[in-house]
C-alpha cells in the first residue's frame, strides 16, 4: 500500500502526517513532530524496508525519460530496459551479456 508522508507548519511548528487510501477512502494518520515516537517509528520502518519502493520509482522515472534503469545486483552492473531485457556490463562498461526474461539471450 502506497503511503505518502506530508508535512504541515502550524504556528511555527512542523507536524507530519501519513496519507493512504483504504478501499478508495483517503485516510490521514497524524504522526506528530519530528521528535514524536510515531514519526521516529515511521523513519525506522523506512530504514528497515531499505527504500525498495524508491528503486521501483527510479525505474519508472528512467523508463519515462527513455533511458534504462542502471543498478548493481549480485556484483553485476546491469542496465534494465522497459521491455524487461537486461544488459550486463563489464568493468570497462562494455556489454558482456544480454538477458531476456531472466535467461541469457
Amino acid at each position: 500500500m502506497k503511503k505518502t508522508l506530508s508535512r504541515k507548519v502550524i504556528g511555527g511548528r512542523e507536524y507530519f502526517y501519513l496519507m493512504y487510501r483504504v478501499k478508495g477512502r483517503l485516510v490521514t494518520k497524524y504522526l506528530g513532530t519530528s521528535s514524536s515516537p510515531a514519526y521516529r517509528k515511521y523513519l525506522l520502518k523506512l530504514i528497515e524496508e531499505g527504500g525498495n519502493e524508491s528503486f521501483e520509482k527510479c525505474k519508472r522515472d528512467a523508463f519515462s525519460a527513455g533511458v534504462p534503469a542502471a543498478y548493481v545486483e549480485n556484483g553485476e552492473l546491469i542496465l534494465e530496459y522497459r521491455n524487461g531485457s537486461k544488459e550486463v556490463l563489464d568493468g570497462k562498461l562494455n556489454v558482456k551479456e544480454v538477458r531476456r526474461g531472466g535467461e541469457k539471450a
Binding site: 508522508l5 506530508s6 508535512r7 511555527g12 511548528r13 512542523e14 507530519f16 519530528s34 515511521y42 523513519l43 523506512l46 530504514i47 531499505g50 527504500g51 525498495n52 524508491s54 528503486f55 520509482k57 527510479c58 528512467a62 525519460a65 527513455g66 533511458v67 534504462p68 542502471a70 543498478y71 548493481v72 545486483e73 549480485n74 556484483g75 553485476e76 552492473l77 542496465l79 556490463l89 563489464d90 568493468g91 562498461l93
Partner: protein, 168 residues
Amino acid sequence: MERKPEKVLILVIGAMGSGKTTFANYFRNAFLQGYPTKDLQDGILEDRSFAYETSLLLPKELELVKRAKKKGFKINAYFLVANKNLNVIRCRFRSIVSGEKFDETAIKKNYEATYKNIAAIYPEIDLLFLVRNLKAFEFVAAYEPGLSDVSSFLSDLRALKSEADRLS
C-alpha cells in the same frame, strides 16, 4: 514563552552520480524533514533549517559546514555509497535526459575525493548515516561523531566502498 525552533542542516553527501538528488527528493518529507534544498552559504545566512547536496569537492564547503556548526546548526548527514562505474552510467544517462555536460574523466577523478574529504567534517556532524545505493537505498550504519571515533567510521566506510566497487 515561544519555543525557539532548532536549526538543522541536513547534508546529503556522495560522489557524482551516487544518487544524492534522488535520495533527497524521495525522502524529502522523511529524513529531510520537509526542509528545502538550498545553496550552503545562503542557507547559513538565512539561519533556518535546510538541506544541501554535496560531493565535498570544494574546500569552501568544508569551511562553511564548520561555520554552520559554530552558528548553532545541528548537522545530520547521509553519506551515499555506490559503485564508480554505476555512478558514471547514471551521470551519462542524466546528461542524455537533461543535456547537462558529461565528463567521465572528471567523475572518475573526483570519486575518491568525496571519500577522503568526509573525514574533515566528521567532527562537525551530530548524526551520520551510511547509505548504500547500488539498487535500492539501504541504511547500513549510523554514527554519532561526538561518541564514536573517526577511525572506526573510516574503517567501515573503506570496507563498504571496497565491497561496492567490486564487480564480478
